[in-house]
């Protein structure tokens, strides 16, 4: 096992560097715990915070179990609705990560496609796309998200609204992040498309899209991977910020951001655990993702614009 890992690390530079970077290892462990806890939350959480029938308002605002007035049922206390805070955090992390992952998936698919095409075709298409990217950039992330959210609230049929809210958030956050991908992929594509392997594809008469997606795309993966990591962190934070501004996920399915927003209302009332634990979770998670991003950036050393 150790031996095979060692051999693998010798063959693969990334693995080699990874195993020698304590920061990255620690970050990966934390991130793994966060993701694991989030994914497994339905099985490891004591109760389902989304099941409103199981909540009892009389259980609300119970402090952590080790302090006065604590309740053994709720390890780190309960929130204002009587939710077990630990369960709420696990589910919230799950939702935050879900939104984050969906958003960067959306952003990367859109951004990479646009970036590839802009970089490959160049000319007018490139100019138009980059002007659109300018428009997008001049509507900074929060504004875009606020707007999309506003529209969605307006146009979506009520009732559908809550179910679709996650999609809406995804689109909103994704839309504000695609430019990163587009710009980077475009820059990389500019470099790649002048390489001779691309010319050899062109000489063969290969379809441009096949060249782009089968041949160029794998070569832009390094920068994409870094942006994916960094933007995952950004997306999670953005979701939290949007939820803080009150335009995030629906109230009955609290994300980490919503939990923090609710928690800040208890800043001066002594119920510190409602804000501290979700914040700590969010910060821990984002730091570990960012550390991983840092590691990847240094290891792959792509030029990121």
């Amino acid at each position: 096992m150790i031996e095979s890992l060692r051999r693998w690390s010798i063959e693969n530079e990334l693995v080699y560097l990874f195993l020698r970077s304590p920061g990255a290892l620690l970050a990966a462990l934390v991130a793994l715990l966060c993701v694991g806890g989030a994914v497994l939350s339905p099985w490891i959480a004591a109760n389902d915070p989304y099941d409103i029938a199981s909540l009892d308002i009389l259980d609300s605002l119970i402090p952590p179990s080790w302090s006065d007035g604590g309740d053994a049922r709720f390890l780190i206390g309960t929130d204002d609705q009587g939710r077990d805070l630990l369960a709420a955090i696990l589910y919230g992390t799950r939702l935050s990560l879900l939104v984050g992952f969906l958003a960067i998936t959306f952003a990367s698919v859109l951004g990479v496609t646009v970036g590839l095409m802009a970089g490959y075709f160049g000319g007018r298409f490139d100019a138009i796309v980059m002007r659109i990217a300018d428009v997008q950039l001049s509507l900074p992330a929060i504004l875009t998200a606020l707007l999309i959210d506003g529209i969605a609230r307006g146009v979506l049929p009520q009732g559908q609204h809550d179910n679709l809210m996650i999609m809406v958030l995804t689109v909103a956050i994704g839309l504000s992040l695609w430019v990163n991908f587009a710009r980077t992929v475009r820059a990389t594509t500019f470099v790649e498309r002048n390489k001779e392997y691309v010319q050899s594809c062109e000489i063969m008469g290969m379809h441009p899209f096949r060249i782009m997606f089968v041949h160029i795309l794998p070569n832009t993966m390094g920068p994409i991977l870094v942006i994916l990591t960094v933007d995952l962190a950004v997306a999670v934070l953005l979701e939290a910020t949007l939820s803080f501004l009150g335009v995030g996920v629906p109230a009955n399915q609290p994300s980490l951001g919503t939990l923090i927003r609710i928690g800040t209302e208890y800043m001066f009332s002594g119920e510190w655990w409602i804000v501290i634990f979700p914040s700590a979770m969010l910060i821990l998670m984002v730091i570990s993702i960012n550390l991983l991003g840092d590691f990847l950036r240094d290891a792959l050393n792509p030029r990121i614009r």
Binding site: D134, S138, L139, P140, I151, I283, N290
Partner: protein
């Protein structure tokens, strides 16, 4: 050069038209302005009258055409909420945001650039400490930082004000914080809150670019010529990182203005971001529209300035005549 600027401006016009069109078509969905304008006893009929008077029943293209037409004439309309002329309202809030943005940009540059250079050149404890600290900086949501700062320095220690701009001095229409002590004190916490994220970005960017430049042949050649390290790093290397750094700083300014929404909300800073949030709350369409167009304008201007900065920095761009 001139043709470049003209071309840029034309493109900018396109960008702004696009932003205003998007903005305009979106705001109809934000909510119903009328319900926010009247009290609870106003009859449905009266509400309809107001709607008609404001032209909200017209088809969207008509409304947009009117909006653009008015903009072109320099008429920005009136706020639904306060009934003030929008230009006056925004102009009165602009200085607050710009001053806050300037302070946080200043913080981010004055700390970020030296830290970036340092961490690029040196390895060791301080370098790692800087990298980790700033990593924490970008990992904490702005609003949490803001609330934490307020609680620590405003409430617990009582050193700095918790909200607002403090005493300001009026210079013409420009209300400034920079001429009073209380104004400066009021700037510190929101400035840091807003600047922390940008600081981290700046530092990391400068570091990455420096590392990149240090690998180039001309730096190796300069080293081989025995140019002293100070000049080597600052005159030769750092100067060459400026083009990408300025690009990103330009983009960051947009980010600063956007994130000022959150900061202004937390600190009750009476700038454009707070105005925008209030406008959303009250579905104040004219204010929202003009705000976004203004943001687009600022962004476009920043872009233009960044491009012009290339001319100043990079002789290659200067001689090529700046075709992009």
């Amino acid at each position: 050069m001139l043709s470049f600027i003209i071309r840029r401006l034309l493109q900018s016009l396109f960008v702004m038209l696009a932003v205003s069109l998007i903005a305009f078509s979106l705001f109809r969905f934000v909510g119903d302005p009328i319900a926010q304008m009247v009290g609870q006893e106003t009859s449905i009929e009266d509400q309809e009258n107001i709607r008609e008077r404001l032209g909200l029943n017209d088809p969207m293209p008509t409304q947009y055409a009117r909006f653009v037409g008015n903009l072109a004439k320099g008429e920005f309309g009136f706020s639904y909420r306060t009934r003030q002329p929008v230009n006056e309202l925004i102009l009165s809030r602009l200085p607050a945001t710009l001053e806050l943005g300037a302070v946080s940009l200043f913080i981010s540059l004055i700390v970020g650039i030296p830290a970036g250079i340092y961490t690029a050149l040196k390895r060791g404890f301080l370098s790692n400490a800087l990298l980790v600290t700033t990593l924490v900086g970008i990992s904490i949501p702005t609003f949490v930082i803001g609330i934490f700062l307020i609680y620590t320095f405003g409430v617990a220690l009582g050193w700095l004000p918790t909200f607002g701009r403090g005493e300001t001095v009026q210079l013409g229409w420009w209300q400034t914080n920079f001429l009073t002590l209380s104004g400066w004190k009021a700037l510190i916490l929101p400035g840091i809150t807003l600047g922390v994220y940008q600081l981290t970005l700046t530092m990391r960017l400068v570091r990455a670019e420096m590392q990149e430049v240090l690998k180039t042949d001309y730096i190796k050649f300069a080293t081989a010529r025995g140019i002293n390290y100070r000049s080597l790093y600052l005159h030769h290397a750092f100067r060459n990182t400026l083009v990408p750094v300025i690009t990103i700083i330009g983009l960051q300014l947009g980010g600063i203005i956007a994130f000022s929404i959150v900061t202004e909300s937390v600190f009750q800073w009476p700038g454009m971001g707070l105005l925008f949030l209030d406008s959303i709350r009250y579905v104040d369409i004219p204010v929202m529209s003009v705000y976004l167009v203004l943001i687009a304008l600022i962004f476009v201007m920043i872009n233009l300035i960044v491009d012009l900065a290339y001319f100043a920095i990079d002789p290659r761009v200067r001689h090529r005549g700046g075709d992009d």
